[in-house]
Structure formats: structure tokens, C-alpha cells
């Protein structure tokens, strides 16, 4: 086949693909496609076929011209940044919420009214314009506030971006060049060496001891070796593909690029992540739900009274203004700001505890979480190999695996231990980086692979100064580890200058080590390695392996002085020294241990009714061991396999419901339908998913969501990012987390500590409770704001409360108290309750609204009207006179209107009297709201139990509210600017009885609720 033909064919393929894509109009279908496993065969075919497919040569690489053509076709080798929403759209969205739209309508009506009046030549109509401007200002300012919050969180993400351009060594036209990685194309031959980032998905052609760190992609904590052989049909499992964005840890390799940019595995994951729709947070759903109700009711009320007003005989324009006023009175303008402030307060509190919240609403989501899908590596575990167990003297000894070495150590008095420690110390190439004396040993940086690092740290901790120790045993020769002999050995001089023997130390795969041993060290005695010891070894090996630990065997041999005299020329390649008949010292096993805080945190989650599911890319055995270790699988819980083994019956005969625990691997998951997965999740409370691919993580999250759970996902790797995005709340690790994970997450744990999630849950639950209180407080006053208009329209009394005054209540005096409720302590131990049921436990439920509106709100209205009629009567207008007074009262040209005493009033005098009424009504609402904020401190407990002054912020909020109220009333100039009049001091006290009534009534309510749980009283009056 000629070059041109292949090229054409490829072109056609590309075209066909494009057509296919076009056909997938349905986005969902496309997403489903993405969720399927990656389906390529580039790793299975021979190199010749590969060369043909990509029109390249293993030795010479691509020709520059063809590379340019491919570059033209495929575009640069980089991940396309996800399409961001333009800033102006984000801002516009802030201005176009349900309530905001209503406010716009109100503002429009105001301006229209102004326009008509102004055109009529009425110069006294600037009030309407004024109100329109204020309304627009309110919307814009709240919008800016929300936008700023969002902007701030986007900035956090931007700072994570890594902008260093990557370089790669590429062979083109038979020559090696260093080019920028984004110029690479499919078919390019590249060279990689230890420390390089892999520039694209590469099929390995040649390799020498090449190891890559795939942890960010698959979650495996150990570096994986890369070889030219295809070892698995799954491209993610096979050893001859190295993936874009992973790092080569050691060795060198050459390979052919098989995909670039967004077509790489990581690119697909990234597209998958950005393709996953951002789920609406539960609190957003709640707020939307209730904003819809409020907006609906506002329109309903407004329209009803518009019709009523028209029916009574008001002019159309007047009726429109009534509509507007009712909307202004009924809509809680300050509510969204209150919610935002409350959430950001909690976010701040969480930030102090090392949880950074990117999306404010996510604060609450954690509180309603019912399932946490946690990644293992780096989240539950420390992501560093650590010595966990030792086997010597025919005993398994547990080592201290805590991060700060606070655990218990084992008995180190045995002679065998000394020998084992010596072997472990000497047969180790890892070294500490210099200048780290100040750091605790576990935190020090080490040059060397994971298990050698673990051993180095372990010996440094137990033996002490390893470097010095090694210096005393001068090394004569060493044979490094390789995959064929599977051991590592070194030969040392002894530290005793009189003893001229050499010491051979060896470590490696236990079975290989055992083969070479003829004796075993027991309590310092060298005993012949007979059947009995062999069996003991096998049992220990199996036990440790069953714990998911990586086991190494250690042995040594004193070389006889005769055979190997001092100065003997050792040859590492020939191995001209004895390598069998050694003395077995012991086994050391290592694991990536769980973080110390995790078991406690998992326990707390369990008491809080939250299920913790482990979803990891690591092997099932390891996963299960860690799960058991941290309490995800509790003691005594069995899997189906365990039961089968215990009862000695086949797996099929076990009743699946008997098994509490279940470990499912990616392979099994692949063959399960979504119904089966749901079934498994429902039947087994303790679940572990191992060897899962990013797509499968997504499927698991979806399955949990299908079952009605609110799902939190924690993770750090790129492989977690789609699941993080899909989850109701994604939690990424701040230190270990990859940028992709951080980008997809809603929350970042700065200290990578799983236990911080528990704090988050607690804060989330608390804020839900407190938001409920805040909203109840905020909603209450809408009734005393609304009733004046209703009475005004229906009974034609002089207007008791003006729109501007309402806005002052909503946006000035009542904001601080409603926010202060966010500082309220929990009423009960919220961490012992089940997570809320998102369908049943709403933020704003019927009883909350009814109680606020028709009971407390009603009392407040009566208080306002009492004060209003008092102020009117004491100035000369009896209550009964007020009714039906409106038409004359508002006649600008009526300058000698008689009051109840026969005094005559000008229009302006009446207007100031009306402002006095506004102020008096305002003061009544304020006084009642003080009582209201006190009762809202608790929903069930008595306020006396909760403590009046324990919430200092609330106390200061009340003081602030009173001061601000006084300022508004008595600051000179207020009457003409904001329609506040300096009122008589007596009128402040008229609503006090109603305030006391509110307090007493609510205490009675709470008493009833506490005394008679489940009773009619409880059902109707508990919110």
C-alpha cells in the first residue's frame, strides 16, 4: 500500500467519524457513548501494523511534511480548556432570577406610572421614579454581590493552573529534535526518561526499567513498569501504553504516539468531566422551589388585588401601582443576600478548618449528603508505602503505621530482629535528600522507589542513623533488582575490623528468597529450614498477602573468609559468589496505611447516617484490607465469598442478603447492568469498588443518585474528576489532588484529611437548620408589610406603610438579625441524626410558611395597626374616621380637611402625618421582629435552654437594629429623604405587648411540641 493510499483512507475515517458525530445530535446519547469503556487496539497489534496504520517508522519517525499534515488535521496536542460561560452571561444570570424578575416588573410599573404622571404635568410624582431607581439598585447590588462571590471562587481555580510549557524529544526524519509537546502528532516517535512527563498516549516500543506513576489516572499507588509487550486487552491495564500527563519515574523508553490532545485517555476523561452537567445543589433546588412559591404568591396576591381595586373603582394606573406595591411588600428582597451571607459565613468557618468551598451552595450539600464515595489512595490512605508488619521468630509483629509515629512498636529485643534490621538497612539503595535534619522522619524526602523508601524510613526510625550505619558496613558490590531474578543483593564488609568476613544481604519476592535459603533464623539461632518452617513461612506469607500488603523476604549469609577473602573482586554480572544456602531472616510487609484520623471519621459518618463507599482504582485485596482497616467494612461483616468459604458451599448458593459487605471489581462491574448495580448497592450496606475506571466511578455515582441519595465524592486523581463533577458535591484533595480534580470539585480539603469532611457535614447540617430559622424570620415580616396595602385598598384608610419604608426593613434593619441566626448553635446533637431526606425535609415547608405568615405575621400586623391607629387617633384622627378617608386624604388640593376634632389640615400636614404612620408601623415591625429573632433561635427547645445571650452576634444584631431604627427616625432630614418622621417615644412601646405575646406564644408552641411529639400540635406547628 502506498503512503498516499493510507493517508486517504485515514482521511475517510476521519470524515466518517465526523459524520457520526453530527448524527449524535442527542447530547445524552453522546454522553452515554463517552461512558463506555475506551475501545482501542493500538496496544494489541504488532509494531509493523502500527507503523502502517500511522504511516510512520519506528527508527526514523514521521517525515516533517507528513507530521505537518497530521498536525493540520488533528490540531495541537493539548487539552482544550472547557468552555467557560462568558462573564456578562454570568452577571446577567444574577440579575434574572425569579424574584429579580418580579422586581424588574415592579420597577417598570413605577417608571411607567412616573412617566404618565409626569406627562400629565404633575411635578409631585417623583416618588415613583425614586422607588423605581431604588428597586433597580437593589437588584443590581444583590446581583453584584452574588457575582462577586462566584468570581472569587473562580479565581481560586485559576490559581491552580499550571502554565509551564512541556518539551519532548521526538524523532522526525530520522533525527532527534526537542520540540514543544503541543506540536506532537499521532505517529511521532518520542523518547522519555525518568522525571519526564509523558507528552501523549504512547505505545512503548523499547524500554529499559521504565516505570510510570499512574496514580493520578488509575489510583494505583505504586509506580507501574512499562514494557513493549501487550499484557492485557484493556488499554488501561496493559503495560505497553504510557498515558498522557502521567510521569515517568525511572528508566528510559521510546514509544510511538497513538493519540494526542483531547483524544488521549486523559483528554477523554477531561471531556467526560466537562460534559457531565453540573448537578444543581440541593440547597439551590430548595431555594428555587421556594422562590417559585414566593414569586407565584406575589403575582397571585398582586393580581387579585389589582382586580379587586379595579372592581372597587380605582383607575387603571392606580391599580397598577397597587400591584407594584404588593409585589414590593411581599417579595423578601433581602432574602437572597441573607442566604448568600449565611452560606459564605459557613464557608469562611470551613476554610479555617481547611475546607475551601468553591461553590457557596456546596456548603449545605455536605450536610444533606447520605453517601460518600471515597477514593482510597491519598484520601483514606497516606499515599506512601509504610512498613506494616514483620514476620520473624515465627511471629507476625505489627509496626507503627501512624503518620506521627504515635502508635505502639513491637518487641525489638530478639536477636533475629537485629539481623533482619541489618539486612533491611544494608540491602537498600534509597537515601534521604540532604538538609532535612529538622523534619520528622516520615516527612523527609527520599530518593528511591516506594518500598525502599518505606524500608529506609522504617529502619531509620527503629535502628537509627541509617547513613552512618551503612558507612560502617562498607559496600563491596550490589546487584540491583530486576524483573527476571526478582531480588536485590549487596555484599558488605563487617563493621568489626577484626572480622574479615563479608556479609551478603538479599531481599526480594519471598518465594524466590526462600528457594535460596537452607536455614532460618529463630531467636538468633540458625535452624535448618525444614518442612515445618516452610509451612510456617507459607502461612505468614499468605496472611500478610491477604491483608493487601506487599511482602518482601530478607536473608543474609556470612561469606567464609577462605572462599571470599578480603579484596575479592566481586562481579555483579557474573555473580561469582554464593547466592544460595542463605539464612532466612524474616518477612517485612508494606502497605499504604490509612490516615490516623480516617477510622474515627468513618465511624462518625456512620453515626450520622452517612454511608461510606470506597471506590478505588487499586486492587480488590488491598482495597478490602484498607476498607476493613478504616471501618468501611466493619468487623464481623462478611462478603458473599466469605460466607461461601465459611459454610463451604458454592458462592451461588449464598443468600446475597446475608452479606453486609461486598467487594466489586471493575471487571465484574463491567458485566453488570445498572439494575444489578442498584440492587447490589441496596442489598449491601458496606460496599467497596476496586479496579474501577473513571467511567465506572461515574456509573457508581449515578446509581447512588438513582437510589435517591445525595452523593459526595472525594478524590484526588484525574480519574476521579468525572465522578467529582457528577456528584452532588465533589471534594478534592488540596495537597495530593491533581488540577483536574480540583477543577471538577466543589470543595477542596487543604489538609487532605478525610476527617475534615465530617466537620463539613456538621457545618452543612447546622447551616441548613439555621437557614431555616433565618428564612422563617425573614418571611414573617412580609405579612405586616403586605396587610397595610390590603387594608389601604379595601378600607381606604390613609396608607399605613410606604414602599421605601418596606425596603428599609427588608434591606437595612432586618438583614443583620437574620444573618446573626447563622451563628446559632445546634439545638441537638445533629451528628446523631440521619441525613435529611431531600424529598421530605424541605428547607421551607408548609408549616414553616403557615406558622410565619398566618400566626406570627398576623400578630405583627395587629401590632402595626394598633400602633398606626394610636398614632392617628392621638394626632386627631379617630380609627373609624380613618376608614374611607383615602380619597380626601390624598387630594393634593384639599387644604382644609377637618379631623375628628374639627381642626383643619393642609395636604402637607396630612402627608407628614402619613409619614409618621409609616414610621410608627416600621417601629412596630422592628419591635416584633426583635421578639421574632429571639423565638427563631430555637425550633423545639425553649429559648431559655438555648441561652438568651449565648449568641453574641444576635445580641449585637438586636442592638444594631434598634440603633439603626432610631437613626432613621431621629436623624434630621429623614422626613423629606426617606419618609421617616421623628415619632413620639410612647409609640415605640405600643407594639411591646404584641412582642411579648409572640414570645410567650412561641414558648407555648415549643412546650407543646416537646411534650407531645407526634401529636396534632406537633404536626401542625413544628416547622
Amino acid at each position: 500500500m502506498s503512503k498516499k493510499d493510507t493517508y486517504d483512507m485515514f482521511e475517510m475515517d476521519g470524515d466518517m467519524e465526523k459524520k457520526k458525530k453530527k448524527k449524535k445530535v442527542n447530547k445524552k446519547e453522546k454522553m452515554e457513548g463517552m461512558k463506555k469503556e475506551i475501545d482501542i487496539d493500538d496496544h494489541e497489534i504488532t509494531i509493523d501494523e502500527l507503523e502502517m496504520r500511522y504511516n510512520t517508522s519506528v527508527t526514523k519517525g514521521l517525515t516533517s511534511t507528513f507530521a505537518a499534515q497530521v498536525f493540520e488535521r488533528d490540531g495541537p496536542n493539548e487539552l482544550k480548556p472547557p468552555k467557560g460561560t462568558p462573564e456578562y452571561v454570568k452577571f446577567a444570570r444574577q440579575l434574572a432570577g425569579g424574584l429579580q424578575c418580579l422586581m424588574w416588573v415592579a420597577a417598570c410599573i413605577c417608571s411607567i406610572a412616573f412617566g404618565i404622571e409626569f406627562a400629565k404635568g404633575n411635578v409631585n410624582c417623583f416618588d415613583n421614579l425614586y422607588l423605581a431607581v431604588v428597586l433597580i439598585a437593589v437588584v443590581v447590588v444583590t446581583g453584584c454581590f452574588g457575582y462577586y462571590q462566584e468570581f472569587k471562587s473562580t479565581n481560586i481555580i485559576a490559581s491552580f493552573k499550571n502554565l509551564v510549557p512541556q518539551q519532548a524529544v521526538v524523532i522526525r526524519d530520522g533525527q532527534k529534535n526537542v520540540i514543544n509537546a503541543y506540536q506532537l502528532v499521532v505517529g511521532d516517535m518520542v523518547e522519555i526518561k525518568g522525571g519526564d512527563g509523558i507528552p501523549a498516549d504512547i505505545r512503548i516500543i523499547t524500554s529499559q526499567a521504565c516505570k510510570v506513576d499512574n496514580s493520578s489516572l488509575t489510583g494505583e499507588s505504586e509506580p507501574q513498569s512499562r514494557t513493549p509487550e501487550c499484557t492485557h486487552e484493556n488499554p488501561l491495564e496493559t503495560k505497553n501504553i504510557a498515558f498522557f500527563s502521567t510521569t515517568c519515574m525511572e528508566g528510559i523508553a521510546t514509544g510511538m504516539i497513538i493519540s494526542t490532545g483531547d483524544r488521549t485517555i486523559i483528554g477523554r476523561i477531561a471531556t467526560l468531566a466537562s460534559g457531565v452537567g453540573n448537578e444543581k445543589t440541593p440547597i439551590a433546588i430548595e431555594i428555587e422551589h421556594f422562590v417559585d412559591i414566593i414569586a407565584g404568591l406575589a403575582i397571585f396576591f398582586g393580581f387579585t388585588f389589582f382586580v379587586v381595586a379595579m372592581f372597587i373603582g380605582y383607575a387603571f394606573l392606580e391599580a397598577m401601582i397597587f400591584f407594584m406595591a404588593i409585589v414590593v411588600a411581599y417579595v423578601p428582597e433581602g432574602l437572597l443576600a441573607t442566604v448568600t451571607v449565611c452560606l459564605s459565613l459557613t464557608a469562611k468557618r470551613l476554610a479555617r478548618k481547611n475546607c475551601v468551598v468553591k461553590n457557596l451552595e456546596a456548603v449545605e450539600t455536605l450536610g444533606s449528603t447520605s453517601v460518600i464515595c471515597s477514593d482510597k489512595t491519598g484520601t483514606l490512605t497516606q499515599n506512601r508505602m509504610t512498613v506494616a508488619h514483620l514476620w520473624f521468630d515465627n511471629h507476625v509483629h505489627a509496626a507503627d503505621t501512624t503518620e506521627d509515629q504515635s502508635g505502639k512498636s513491637f518487641d525489638q529485643s530478639s536477636e533475629t530482629w537485629r539481623s533482619l534490621a541489618r539486612v533491611a538497612t544494608l540491602c537498600n539503595r534509597a537515601t534521604f535528600r540532604p538538609d532535612q535534619e529538622g523534619l520528622p522522619i516520615p516527612k523527609r524526602l527520599v530518593v528511591g522507589d516506594a518500598s525502599e523508601t518505606a524500608l529506609l524510613k522504617f529502619t531509620e526510625l527503629s535502628v537509627g542513623n541509617v547513613m552512618d550505619y551503612r558507612d560502617r558496613f562498607k559496600k563491596a558490590v550490589e546487584v540491583p533488582f530486576n524483573s527476571t531474578n526478582k531480588f536485590q543483593l549487596s555484599i558488605h564488609e563487617l563493621d568489626d575490623p577484626l572480622d574479615l568476613r563479608y556479609l551478603l544481604v538479599m531481599k526480594g519476592a519471598p518465594e524466590r528468597i526462600l528457594e535460596r535459603c537452607s536455614t532460618i533464623l529463630i531467636k538468633g539461632q540458625e535452624l535448618p529450614l525444614d518442612e515445618q518452617w516452610s509451612e510456617a513461612f507459607q502461612t505468614a506469607y499468605m496472611d500478610l498477602g491477604g491483608l493487601g500488603e506487599r511482602v518482601l523476604g530478607f536473608c543474609h549469609l556470612y561469606l567464609s573468609e577462605k572462599e571470599v577473602p578480603r579484596g575479592y573482586r566481586f562481579d555483579a554480572d557474573e555473580m561469582n559468589f554464593p547466592t544460595s544456602g542463605l539464612c532466612f531472616a524474616g518477612l517485612i510487609s508494606m502497605i499504604d496505611p490509612p490516615r490516623a484520623t480516617v477510622p474515627g471519621a468513618v465511624m462518625k459518618c456512620r453515626t450520622a447516617g452517612i454511608r461510606v463507599v470506597m471506590v478505588t482504582g487499586d486492587h480488590p485485596i488491598t482495597a478490602r484490607a484498607i476498607a476493613a482497616n478504616v471501618g468501611i467494612i466493619t468487623e464481623g461483616s462478611e462478603t458473599v465469598e466469605d460466607i461461601a468459604q465459611r459454610k463451604r458451599i458454592p458462592v451461588e448458593q449464598v443468600n446475597k442478603r446475608d452479606a453486609r459487605a461486598c467487594v466489586i471489581s471493575g471487571g465484574q462491574l463491567k458485566d453488570m447492568s445498572s439494575e444489578e448495580l442498584d440492587e447490589a448497592l441496596r442489598n449491601h450496606p458496606e460496599m467497596v469498588f476496586a479496579r474501577t475506571s473513571p467511567q465506572q466511578k461515574l456509573i457508581i455515582v449515578e446509581s447512588c443518585q438513582r437510589l435517591g441519595s445525595i452523593v459526595a465524592v472525594t478524590g484526588d486523581g484525574v480519574n476521579d474528576s468525572p465522578a467529582l463533577k457528577k456528584a452532588d458535591i465533589g471534594v478534592a484533595m488540596g495537597i495530593a489532588g491533581s488540577d483536574a480534580a480540583k477543577n471538577a470539585a466543589d470543595m477542596i480539603l487543604l489538609d487532605d484529611n478525610f476527617a475534615s469532611i465530617v466537620t463539613g457535614v456538621e457545618q452543612g447540617r447546622l447551616i441548613f437548620d439555621n437557614l431555616k430559622k433565618s428564612i422563617a424570620y425573614t418571611l414573617t415580616k412580609n405579612i405586616p408589610e403586605l396587610t397595610p396595602y390590603l387594608i389601604y385598598i379595601t378600607c381606604s384608610v390613609p396608607l399605613p406603610l410606604g414602599c421605601i419604608t418596606i425596603l428599609f426593613i427588608e434591606l437595612a434593619t432586618d438583614i443583620y438579625p437574620s444573618v446573626s441566626l447563622a451563628y446559632e448553635k445546634a439545638e441537638s446533637d445533629i451528628m446523631n441524626l440521619k441525613p435529611r431526606n431531600p424529598r421530605r425535609d424541605r428547607l421551607v415547608n408548609e408549616s414553616l410558611a403557615v406558622y410565619s405568615y398566618f400566626q406570627i405575621g398576623a400578630i405583627q400586623s395587629f401590632a402595626g395597626f394598633t400602633d398606626y391607629f394610636a398614632a392617628m387617633a392621638q394626632e386627631g384622627w379617630y380609627p373609624l374616621v380613618c376608614i374611607g378617608l383615602r380619597a380626601h386624604w390624598e387630594n393634593i388640593h384639599f387644604q382644609d380637611m377637618q379631623d375628628s376634632y374639627g381642626q383643619e389640615w393642609t395636604f402637607n400636614q396630612r402627608l407628614y402625618q402619613q409619614f409618621t404612620c409609616y414610621t410608627v408601623f416600621f417601629v412596630s415591625i422592628e419591635i416584633c421582629q426583635i421578639s421574632d429573632v429571639l423565638i427563631r433561635k430555637t425550633r423545639r427547645l425553649s429559648v431559655f435552654t438555648q441561652g438568651f445571650f449565648r449568641n453574641k452576634v444576635l445580641v449585637s444584631a438586636i442592638v444594631f437594629q434598634l440603633l439603626l431604627g432610631n437613626l432613621l427616625c431621629y436623624c434630621p432630614g429623614m422626613p423629606n429623604i426617606f419618609n421617616f418622621m421623628p415619632i413620639r417615644v410612647q409609640w415605640w412601646f405600643v407594639p411591646v405587648p404584641y412582642g411579648i405575646l409572640i414570645f410567650v406564644y412561641d414558648e407555648i408552641r415549643k412546650l407543646g411540641v416537646r411534650r407531645h411529639p407526634g401529636s396534632w400540635w406537633d404536626q401542625e406547628l413544628y416547622y
Partner: protein, 283 residues
């Protein structure tokens, strides 16, 4: 789906299975309505109680506070149209006739016969105080006569068209009633002065006040309220424009002059002053 939702909605309104209307059974509705009935009766009761207590604190004859009325308002008669504009044509009777009628009607209670019948002759130039002696109310209180004849040429007796026909119209000014107000200190009676606004000073011509000097005699004060002083006759001042420029708008402002009445705020154009526009067409 939509049908489902429809059913759900219908079921919410009336669920035949559980016999629930809007999510509640009859007994549940009964209970909750009873609860609210009791609740609101209690609230209304409390409202009535507080209102009753409040009303008890009120005096029948004098409002508790008179914060808004420190500067009494002033008004003119005839009022003209809404904008305090008096425009008429001397040639067209129908254009001024209504003004005369308005004044006739306004002045009829001031007829001497009526005044003599109801009111007393008081001692002029001093306040007509009728204090209560402690608990014993001195009610009903007597009022002083304000005879229509005091207005002389503007009384409508000598000239039943109040000078409108000749282009020498009368405007009657009154000071709003405020209970207990004692205008003028040291025996000096308050008086009304009228003048033109800046650009119209040339046009206003000569003015004549009735009673002379445009005073409100002190004997008409204080006012004791419509309950105690049923027949109170508000004192009036008439202004006659003797040779006002015709066929042009003339803006006129009258104000009260009393040494103890504060000048009202700039915003209230009718407190202690009154302005109006006068236009007499002759063509």
C-alpha cells in the same frame, strides 16, 4: 407525564381514596380552622383591648398631640379650580357667576341674623378664654359673632357680585382651625397681607382689606373643637383688588403675620400662607 401530573393535581384537590380535600380530611380541616378561628378571635380581642385602652387615653375635646399643626394652613374662597386659579371674563356672566354663588353659599352662616341667634357678642381684642374648672367641663362653649357685615364691600350685601362684575374681585381668606391656638402675642392681632410675586409687583395695583388691616380679631381665639364649640364662626379676611392689571396672569401670595406663628416649611405652600393666580379678562 403531563397526564400524571394532572392526576396528581386532581388528587391533591380531592382524593376520593382518603377523602382528602387539598391534602386534609374534613376533620383535619375542621380542627385547623377551629384553631385559627380561636387564634384570630383571641388576636382580635387583644387588638380591641389595646385599641380600647388607647382610646381611653384620648381627650374628647383636644387631641393628645398637635405635632403637625404648629403652622396653621390658609385657604381662600372662592377656590376656583383645583389649581387655585381664578380666571374669568367680565363680559361673560357665566364665567364669574359661579364664584359669586360659591361665596354666597360660603358666607350664608355668617349672616347677621344667624350670628345673633347663635353666638355672643364678645369683647374685642382679647382672647375669649372659657376654661374648664377642674373636673367640671364648661360645655358647651360659647362662640363670638362674626357678622357678615364686617366684610363690608366684600360681604355681598352691598354688591351681590362681590366686585367680580367690575373687575374688582373679592377673595376671602381663612386661617385653618387649630384647637387651642392663640395667634398673636402681647395683644397684637394677627393680620393678613397680600402681595404679588416678584415679576407681577407692577400688576397687582391697590388692595383693600376687610376688616381693616386684614386682622383676625383675638376674640375668636382660642378654638375649643367642634364638639365643645359647636357654633364656632371662623374669622375671615376679605381682600379686594381695586385696579389689578387685566388680561394678564397675576400671581398673588397672602400670608399671615403673627409674632408667634412659625413660618411653615418651604415644602408646605399652604401653611401660614396661600398663593393663587388671578386673571381677569375684559375682552
Amino acid at each position: 407525564m403531563a397526564k400524571d401530573g394532572d392526576n396528581g393535581w386532581k388528587e391533591y384537590v380531592w382524593n376520593p381514596r382518603t377523602r382528602e380535600f387539598l391534602g386534609r380530611t374534613a376533620s383535619s380541616w375542621g380542627l385547623i380552622l377551629l384553631f385559627y378561628l380561636v387564634f384570630y378571635i383571641f388576636l382580635a380581642g387583644m387588638f380591641c383591648l389595646t385599641m380600647y385602652v388607647m382610646l381611653q387615653t384620648l381627650d374628647d375635646h383636644k387631641p393628645k398631640w398637635q405635632d403637625r399643626l404648629s403652622t396653621p394652613g390658609m385657604v381662600i374662597r372662592p377656590k376656583g379650580d383645583e389649581y387655585y386659579q381664578i380666571t374669568y371674563n367680565t363680559q361673560k356672566t357665566e364665567s364669574w357667576d359661579m364664584y359669586a354663588q360659591t361665596l354666597d353659599k360660603f358666607l350664608s352662616p355668617y349672616n347677621n341674623t344667624a350670628q345673633v341667634e347663635k353666638n355672643n357678642v364678645c369683647k374685642p381684642d382679647e382672647y375669649f378664654q372659657q376654661e374648664d374648672s377642674g373636673e367640671v367641663k364648661n360645655n358647651p362653649k360659647r362662640s363670638c359673632q362674626f357678622n357678615r357685615t364686617i366684610l363690608d364691600e366684600c360681604s355681598g350685601i352691598t354688591d351681590r357680585y362681590y366686585g367680580y362684575q367690575e373687575g374688582k374681585p373679592c377673595i376671602i381668606i381663612k386661617l385653618n382651625r387649630v384647637i387651642g391656638m392663640l395667634p398673636g402675642k402681647d395683644g397684637q392681632a394677627p393680620f393678613v397681607t397680600c402681595g404679588a410675586k416678584k415679576e407681577d409687583t407692577e400688576k397687582i395695583g391697590e388692595l383693600q382689606y376687610f376688616p381693616p388691616n386684614g386682622t383676625f380679631n383675638l376674640m375668636y381665639y382660642p378654638y375649643y373643637g367642634k364638639k365643645a364649640q359647636v357654633n364656632y364662626s371662623q374669622p375671615l379676611v376679605a381682600v379686594k383688588f381695586l385696579n389689578i392689571t387685566t388680561n394678564e396672569d397675576v400671581n398673588i401670595e397672602c400670608r399671615i403675620n403673627a409674632n408667634n406663628i412659625p413660618t411653615g416649611s418651604e415644602r408646605d405652600k399652604w401653611a401660614g400662607r396661600v398663593s393663587f393666580k388671578l386673571r381677569i379678562n375684559t375682552i
